[in-house]
Symmetry: none
Subunit: 437 residues, 2 copies
């Protein structure tokens, strides 16, 4: 069998009406991709026999492998068995499988329960289909071949679907070193997606292999690479493409695949042997929470202050009332003094501070909502704070998120010795414009 493209069909009113988000399709596609099978389409339809049968027929006509999830339960709205029968043997009724009845009877017996009559529906199957055992629930899976297409119907709950896929579907998938699909991603922060694409130039042409694309989510840019070919060729081409993206996107690259910005920053911190303390105002603890995401961070992260109010900035970080009166709590001077206070009072090597206006209230013409100052004292020979000014757009959550991420990128650059003049997205220069007035 030559399976190179797959389709995934998810069934359920709760999915198509949006009461539940489908996670099965993404999980299955990812599993298939690692085995060299490209998914061309996901489709979701409700608990409607005609719609399910039509979708099975259409998808089986275009894909070599069709995986269906859902609709195998015992209730009247579980119609995958009937629809699969309609698609495979139009006009014929389902047959009852003796082995499946025994499996169901044992399942209830082992739990000391009487099998409700409704569960007998789960022992029915299209004539040419065979059952896939379900050790974790009452819904058996089904496997059938329709013309050239392998079709597997699996239960909807991920805890039942995933093991059945691994146990009963994977052994039937073609494995070939002649044709694999490898995927990987490069992660970056701090410059615009359009510039990221321009820097990649013809790497992003649509007919290339490896295929390179970009996405952006919550400020994190990803350069996604998909490489197809023989195992050796695909790997070599993938490595070359990843290296090319990393070169093109410096100094903004912070990691690959699932690595987060905070994991990357924590790794650099750990290798530097230096400690850090933080002082947060508008982010309210978010920078600290991101650092604390990383296991083992306690070796570097001493702690910090959430100086949401001005009296806290004064009493806990030693920011002078005079400074706050003269420059305001959202200023170069305040960010610098917060970092200096955090460093002095914690004894940390490095201090990071954030102060800004997250909105929706509190903006002024000179400092509108989205104005954020990030201060950094790196703790080597440069005892003076570096302060960057940002003008973020978006809502309160977005402004705070980008502020914390910008602070982490400034920390990374400082630890890597990146020159201080690389701009960050939404940065406004000079930061100290207000001091010059």
């Amino acid at each position: 069998l030559h399976v190179t493209t797959a389709a995934i069909l998810s069934i359920g009113d709760e999915l198509v009406l949006g009461q539940t988000a489908d996670t099965n399709a993404a999980w299955l596609s990812d599993q298939l991709a690692t085995r060299g099978i490209l998914t061309a389409e996901h489709r979701t339809v409700g608990d409607d026999r005609g719609a399910v049968a039509a979708a099975i027929r259409e998808l089986a006509a275009s894909a070599g492998l069709l995986i269906i999830t859902g609709g195998l339960g015992p209730t009247a709205d579980d119609l995958t068995r009937e629809a699969l029968g309609d698609a495979a043997h139009p006009g014929e009724s389902l047959v009852t499988d003796d082995g499946a009845i025994q499996h169901l009877a044992r399942w209830f017996q082992r739990r000391g329960r009487t099998m409700p009559a409704s569960n007998l529906r789960q022992a029915q199957r299209p004539r040419s289909a065979r059952f896939l055992p379900n050790p974790r629930g009452t819904a058996p899976g089904l496997a059938v071949t329709l013309r050239e297409t392998l079709i597997f119907a699996l239960p909807g709950p991920p805890a039942e679907m995933q093991p059945m896929f691994l146990d009963a579907v994977v052994p039937h998938l073609p494995r070939s070193d002649d044709h694999v699909i490898l995927t990987a991603a490069v992660n970056a922060f701090g410059f615009p997606e359009a510039e990221a694409a321009e820097r990649l130039g013809d790497l992003m042409e649509r007919d290339r292999n490896p295929l390179v694309g970009t996405t952006v989510s919550r400020g994190i840019l990803r350069g996604r690479v998909r490489s197809t070919g023989s195992a050796l060729e695909a790997r070599a081409a993938m490595d070359a493409a990843i290296a090319a993206i990393e070169r093109a996107w410096q100094p903004y690259v912070f990691g690959r695949d699932g690595e987060s910005l905070q994991e990357s920053a924590a790794g650099l911190l750990h290798r530097s042997g230096r400690s850090i303390a933080i002082a947060e105002s508008c982010t309210g603890g978010q920078l600290g929470a991101m650092l604390a995401d990383v296991p083992g961070i306690s070796a570097s992260f001493i702690g910090g202050w959430i100086t949401y109010s001005n009296p806290m900035k004064e009493s806990q970080l030693g920011v002078s009332a005079e400074l706050l009166r003269q420059h305001g709590a959202v200023s170069v001077a305040a960010a610098a003094a917060m970092a200096a206070g955090a460093r002095a009072r914690s004894g940390a090597d490095i201090a990071l501070s954030i102060t800004g206006i997250a909105g929706p209230e509190g903006g002024t013409p000179a400092k509108p909502v989205g104005t954020v100052f990030v201060g950094l004292i790196a703790g080597d020979d440069r005892d003076h704070p570096v302060v960057r000014r940002f003008q973020f757009s978006g809502d309160r959550a977005s402004i705070r998120d980008r502020a914390a991420k910008s602070a982490l990128q400034m920390l990374r650059w400082s630890l890597q010795g990146v020159a201080e003049d690389a701009p960050l997205l939404f940065e406004v220069r000079p930061a100290a414009v207000e001091a010059g007035r």
Copy 2:
């Protein structure tokens, strides 16, 4: 126009290959259902012009409303514009929209940036389409009518897609009072889902209208209600079901629909007129970040301390070295002393503290990973701290998340005057077991 069924098409290699899970389709279907429009199908295809155009043609033939998300970015793999043109005007090339160019130019100008040439792609549209403005990003949406079907193409990022749907799509949707589908949810925290279902009893039978179901996500229980019928009937039945769930789930209920635990806690705080300060260890700032999620929290939230290390607990909160030596930093005594220190040093009316072992390292037989103490000084006549002990399961992120949420529920209960003996999920009693040894 008679739109009764909708289809949703999501576009992106990262979606169809399973690198990212699609959340837009579920959100859109839910939004449509509340307006009486049933979604019949979700479909996802990759960044392939031919596949997208074919999907648009097929879905437009069967549905009265088609909503497309994704593929409107500035890069070469963003092909929704071209595919929509192929479907609407086969053989014709796209036209460039002067208004859209001006919008893009202003967008960049306002941010002090030069528009990269690649963004000009975003000003192209099929001849018969019109632009939908995007105040939150560079990707304008598109609207076009194909035969009888309304088609809207929206950007993929939810932060841009959702407001554009509400502003530019909803006004074009038909409204009918004869048959509506209303959905609502009751939110709760701190007790098990199985108990939640038992408390609902026959409210959860599958053939009822309204239909009631429960879900749980990151510890937050939701009782979901779907009510169908005429506008008046559906509303009355919905209100009755919501009230019944709220009665059954007290004192754990904190809000309805989209209201978060932190919004509910912040609302109670605000109405009480009291101020709060916090002291966090294992959560590293997450409790503060959750409070700071809520606009206007600065009226109540003074600030806090992230005392990740023991020296910070001593120097910044006045927790004695002797106490830490005798009881450890994860103890009833430490949680109580942290809360007392936070309250005394901030002058706040209320103080909350969290100390625990988030793992994966640091557990002991007496205090395994997942052990967390939450301290609360409520600041009325009860000056003594209340400390609850928890034994959370799950990974580091889950333990920290549940710890912060448990702290917020304790705060809510204190502000509402709920008796101190209501148990919270994963709570271990007595908290002071170690002191009794």
